[in-house]
């Protein structure tokens, strides 16, 4: 196994981690500020991807498609926040789980009703297609590099937003003490809608970006949702920094274990069972990682509240 391959796989892990971060950031923000477990976050990812595919199909422009994804997901987020979610802030987690589970059903079948059962087409823009050669002779798809950059940019943007702006002060205040936001003279319900829409927009963006190299289809949000939950639980619910570290950990674990474990097992056993057992364990690896983290630190790596 060459160094080049290892570096390439690290890049792959990084890329999937960075995209996971977009999902997880919104999820953890919503939990941190409003204390809400949102199972329907994956549906917003799907909404973003479908909106992007629809607009790209009509206009042929990837930039417009991305904007459509942001707008559609933010809008969908704002609408469900106003209609449903805001009634759940004072409920226990149980009600939140059930209500957002119900939202998944509505979103998934609703999307199928509108767009039909067949997967939609969304392609990488021409300017970003094909591989580039990196220093060291690594050939790597340009679009995936762009995803890494885009994800990191969003991460920096989010950091600036939270640390350096008025909205950020309000968000941080909301995480620590709800009464304090009221004392600051902030319209809480507006702030909540805004935060929810922001989280939704991030999910929608991830859906559109990833949709270009994957399959845009109904139900695409759920696997990502579960991964994103694993991420924020590992990082500590409510912590953006935790979400970032957690996302990279999950992305790298998922990618690298899947590749290297079967190879490792081949040293000890026959090729066929090694491949099979290796990939079986690899598919469980991130859940094992999460359990280990929680057993070690019951509130995640950077979690404040229990």
């Amino acid at each position: 196994m060459s160094t080049i391959l290892i570096i390439e796989q690290m890049l792959n892990g990084l890329q999937s981690g960075v995209m996971l971060f977009l999902m997880a950031a919104g999820l953890t923000l919503i939990f941190g500020v409003m204390g809400l477990i949102n199972l329907a976050h994956g549906s917003l990812y799907m909404v973003g991807a479908f909106a992007a595919a629809a607009v790209a199909g009509l206009t042929g422009s990837f930039v417009l498609a991305l904007m459509a994804a942001l707008v559609a997901a933010a809008l969908a987020g704002a609408v469900i926040e106003i209609l449903v979610i805001r009634r759940l802030y004072d409920s226990d987690h149980l009600d939140q789980v059930l209500a957002t589970f119900a939202l998944i059903l509505i979103f998934s079948e609703g999307t199928r009703w509108v767009f039909g059962s067949f997967p939609l087409f969304l392609d990488i823009p021409d300017a970003l297609s094909g591989p580039v050669t990196l220093p060291g002779g690594i050939e790597y798809p340009l679009y995936r590099l762009a995803l890494i950059v885009a994800g990191l940019l969003v991460g920096v943007g989010l950091w600036v937003l939270i640390e350096r702006t008025r909205l950020g002060i309000q968000i941080r205040a909301g995480e620590n003490d709800r009464e304090m936001i009221a004392a600051l003279g902030v319209d809480i319900s507006k702030l909540y809608t805004l935060v929810f829409a922001l989280g939704a927009a991030l999910a929608g963006l991830a859906g559109a970006l990833v949709g270009a190299i994957q399959s845009v289809q109904v139900g695409m949000g759920e696997p990502v949702l579960i991964l994103a939950f694993v991420v924020i639980v590992i990082g500590g619910i409510g912590s953006i920094k935790g979400a970032f570290i957690g996302a990279l950990l999950v992305g790298l674990t998922d990618t690298l274990v899947g590749i290297f474990l079967p190879e490792l097992l081949k040293l000890f056993m026959d090729a066929a069972p090694a491949t099979s057992a290796g990939s079986a364990i690899a598919s469980m690896s991130i859940y094992i990682l999460m359990s280990l983290v929680l057993i070690w630190r019951p509130s995640g790596l950077f979690g404040a509240r229990a």
Partner: protein, 376 residues
């Protein structure tokens, strides 16, 4: 009790050769992920039933949501309450394994429009069970034969880590015979194949075989095309289905795939089928629609010959396969699985639509590897 659709045609009763009214239960996937396959199956099947224009066949259609336990419930319902004579329609192997053995044990006929797992072809075969589609391994075997014919020496193969995935790679290797640059099992439902593609790039392979049905295949093909890895790719028809191709787009162009059917197959039955299907549903048919259509025609041919209540006679009538298949020459092997050609298709673009055209034949009059295991 509900009936999603009740198909009785308007033709006169007495004139047809029917010996008894036949009730058919169709269990297929109409909602949730994978609904497009079930919808095509249903539409193809009903196209043939309606075209036959007869009122001695009643079809009850139910949605299994792609959940095995729901499929079993529906089968129970159709057997107990609807009292159907024939079951059909299941798309997925795991659902078929849940339903078929119990149904045939209760004396029903099961005609498979798609799923045909090895267990039901070998030791688990049954006189009342007919796979009208193929045996699951067939397309993979076809791909293996194609790879061998093309002179591939060092191919990289991958499939999801579940039984159909294992069967797939086994089927491919059965006819391929060359070296393997790599053999990888991916996670079921995986959407990102960057890691596997990097492995392919590093492996020194001269070609790639993959079996990744549904959305998995879309993701793989898009990512593969963008990766700059330029090796020839071959796979079974499942990832190049009419419904899926539009979502893959350009990335699929030129890719070879093995199939038992294609819309440009040159025979009269197929021409009628493709034209009628397009006219009625305003889209191109898929292999699932073709298999549904053939299943219905096989059933109709048997109904004309024998009483469905006479198990032995009806089984014999089915086994005769006395119908015009859209796949051309078609007959049943001893274990009630088809003997048919496996073709090689290439993805092309016709106008704005991505579709397949036949470029060769991988295996002629091909049966399956389990005939000898079947003691009926």
């Amino acid at each position: 009790m509900k009936k999603l659709m009740l198909a009785t045609a308007a033709a006169a009763l007495a004139t047809s050769g029917a010996l008894a009214d036949v009730k058919v239960g169709m269990i297929t996937t109409l909602s949730g992920g994978g609904a497009s396959l079930g919808i095509d199956t249903r539409d193809g099947f009903m196209l043939a039933i309606e075209a036959a224009g007869r009122d001695d066949v009643e079809v009850v259609i139910e949605d299994d949501q792609r959940k095995p336990d729901i499929a079993v419930q529906l089968a129970d319902k159709m057997i107990q309450s609807e009292k159907v004579d024939v079951l059909t329609g299941i798309v997925w192997s795991n659902l078929a394994m849940a339903v078929v053995p119990a149904a045939t044990a209760q004396g029903l006929f099961y005609l498979s429009t798609n799923a045909a797992p090895a267990q039901l072809a070998g030791k688990g075969c049954n006189a009342n069970y007919f796979a009208v589609s193929y045996q699951n391994d067939n397309l993979h075997e076809g791909a293996g034969a194609y790879a061998a014919n093309e002179g591939f020496k060092n191919t990289f193969i991958l499939a999801p880590n579940y039984p159909a995935g294992h069967d797939s790679l086994t089927g491919f290797k059965r006819y391929y015979g060359g070296e393997l640059a790599g053999e990888v099992y991916t996670k079921l439902g995986q959407t990102d194949y960057a890691a596997e593609i990097a492995q392919i790039r590093a492996s020194g392979a001269d070609s790639v075989f993959f079996f990744l049905p549904g959305g998995m295949g879309i993701s793989f093909l898009k990512q593969y095309a963008d990766s700059g890895v330029d090796l020839p790719v071959v796979g079974p028809a499942f990832s190049f289905d009419q419904g899926i191709l539009q979502a893959v787009g350009e990335a699929a162009l030129g890719v070879k795939n093995s199939s038992t059917w294609s819309k440009d197959l040159d025979n009269a039955a197929n021409a009628t089928f493709v034209a009628d299907f397009q006219q009625k549903y305003d889209r191109l048919p898929s292999i699932y629609a073709a298999q549904g259509y053939d299943t219905a025609n096989l059933l109709l041919s048997a109904i004309d010959k024998a009483d469905v209540n006479d198990d032995a006679a009806f089984a014999e009538a089915l086994k005769a396969a006395d119908f015009a298949s859209v796949r051309g020459a078609f007959s049943f092997a001893a274990n009630n699985h088809p003997i048919q050609n496996v073709y090689v298709r290439e993805v092309i673009k016709e106008g704005d639509i991505y579709t397949n055209k036949i470029v060769g034949t991988a295996l002629e009059n091909h049966a399956n590897a389990y005939v000898d295991d079947c003691k009926m």
